[in-house]
């Protein structure tokens, strides 16, 4: 650099500078509402067929009432599977948070072996919070173990088991009411960093491909000091949509629902409503229909939620 301010970390990384706005902590999202049970929606409902596949049946030509007994599942290859248990193990939950811009969400799961969730969308809900920033709805597809029971699953337990740490770009033209601290502006006078806001401190960065042994940038490996492992929320699975003359349905192929942190640089990904699977289980590349299910690149920043509690 020939001029300006740049606070550099040991790895040569820029911790903050006058060049780009920092990512700062906005708060935890709170539970706002729950969606309905997905088990039975007339002729369209979601059910689990295999370890990690979820089918949604809809509009079968022979659908009558709530039954689907005349539909043929071409994936399962069995008529009878249309009667698969209608398990209440998925439903939507909307979380809400006030954030300057669309929040960047990191999720911590307190019970990742039992509960998880898949982020589906984040939208401005039109309201304004006490700090004057917009409120955002974060739509999560909850994933909870119901032991194949037809009774209602513990969706409230699933929602309350997760903590959504929300970050945003530092507000433009931020003006502090305090007289102490540090502020960095860019050449146009925009605030790039202000010590009033807690910055996102990244504890590690998963950088790898599904289906292969994930690698860890060892220099960033500080996980041994972590207490509340939280990863950047997004869907790291892939969807495959299928149709047949009888129905349209989709499969989630190994959606990432939660992480269990095992200490050191070890973790276990929990995929779908399944027992624990490792990343290596994302390895298959095609299915019988030729759908491409090959490895996907993942970049996954990690924070310690305890830094923000």
């Amino acid at each position: 650099m020939t001029y300006g301010v740049n606070f550099e970390g040991n790895l040569g990384n820029t911790c903050f500078s006058e060049k780009q706005p920092s990512i700062v902590y906005m708060g935890k999202a709170s539970i706002k509402s729950y969606g309905g049970d997905w088990r039975c929606r007339g002729c369209s409902y979601l059910y689990r067929t295999n370890y990690n596949q979820f089918h949604s049946f809809g509009f079968g030509s022979y659908c009558v009432g709530s039954g689907l007994n005349q539909c043929y599942d071409s994936i399962v290859g069995d008529w009878g599977n249309c009667h698969a248990p209608r398990i209440d193990d998925h439903r939507l939950c909307v979380f809400e948070v006030e954030s300057y811009e669309k929040p960047i969400v990191f999720i911590h799961y307190s019970d990742p072996d039992k509960y998880g969730g898949i982020p589906l969308a984040t939208v401005n809900n039109g309201n304004t919070g006490p700090r004057g920033y917009p409120k955002w709805d974060i739509h999560m597809l909850l994933n909870y173990n119901n032991s194949y029971s037809a009774s209602a699953g513990n969706y409230t337990g699933a929602a309350s088991s997760m903590t959504l740490y929300c970050f945003s770009k530092l507000p433009d033209n931020y003006t502090s009411s305090t007289t102490i601290g540090m502020e960095i502006k860019d050449e146009n006078g925009n605030v790039m960093y202000h010590s009033d806001w807690k910055p996102a401190v990244i504890k590690g960065m998963i950088d790898g491909n599904t289906g292969n042994s994930y690698n860890w940038p060892s220099a960033l490996n500080v996980y041994s000091s972590m207490t509340k492992f939280a990863y950047l929320a997004r869907d790291y699975g892939r969807f495959v949509s299928k149709t047949s003359a009888c129905s349209h349905y989709f499969t989630f192929h190994n959606p990432l629902c939660s992480f269990r942190y095992d200490g050191g640089d070890n973790f276990t990904a929990r995929l779908g409503r399944t027992p624990l699977y490792q990343f290596q289980d994302w390895s298959y590349t095609t299915n019988s229909d030729g759908d491409f299910l090959g490895p996907s690149k993942i970049i996954m920043p990690i924070i310690d939620g305890a830094d923000y509690d």
Partner: protein, 137 residues
């Protein structure tokens, strides 16, 4: 510490130090699913690494309707790649992700091959938008 910086809050807690890894936002935008494009970033001369994350943003009207499977049935995201020129200026590119090779008629609006009643139901249902978050450290 014998070198570097440490930033403390008024309680004496470390907010950030030389030991930490911070991220800054370079760009945050949404693209239409199935589209291609690129952006070049000229103001990253301090930074050593650029990270980009693509996330599907499903239509919430479908999430709350009678048939939530429609929302997640559209299934795709984008592939990301980055190159740098001779001056080490990065360009981020995105393109449609894997397309299914389902037998049947190709339906461009859905980025998939399909036929039968499902196609009819899903006609006009576009791919989800994709949020691309670009960060640097």
């Amino acid at each position: 510490m014998s070198y570097g910086f440490v930033l403390l809050n008024s309680s004496g807690d470390t907010i950030m130090s030389t030991e930490d890894f911070g991220l800054q936002i370079v760009d945050d935008f949404t693209v239409v699913g199935g589209n291609s494009g690129s952006r070049t970033y000229n103001n990253l001369d301090y930074f050593t690494t650029m990270y980009a994350v693509a996330t599907p943003e499903f239509d919430v009207s479908d999430l709350t309707g009678s048939y939530p499977w429609r929302a997640v049935g559209s299934h795709t995201t984008v592939n990301l790649s980055a190159t740098t020129n001779a001056s080490n200026v990065p360009t981020l590119s995105w393109s449609p992700s894997h397309q299914n090779r389902q037998h049947g008629t190709y339906e461009p609006n859905q980025n998939q091959y399909c036929y039968g009643l499902g196609c009819e139901i899903n006609s006009g249902h576009d791919l989800p938008d994709v949020r691309i978050l670009v960060m640097a450290a």
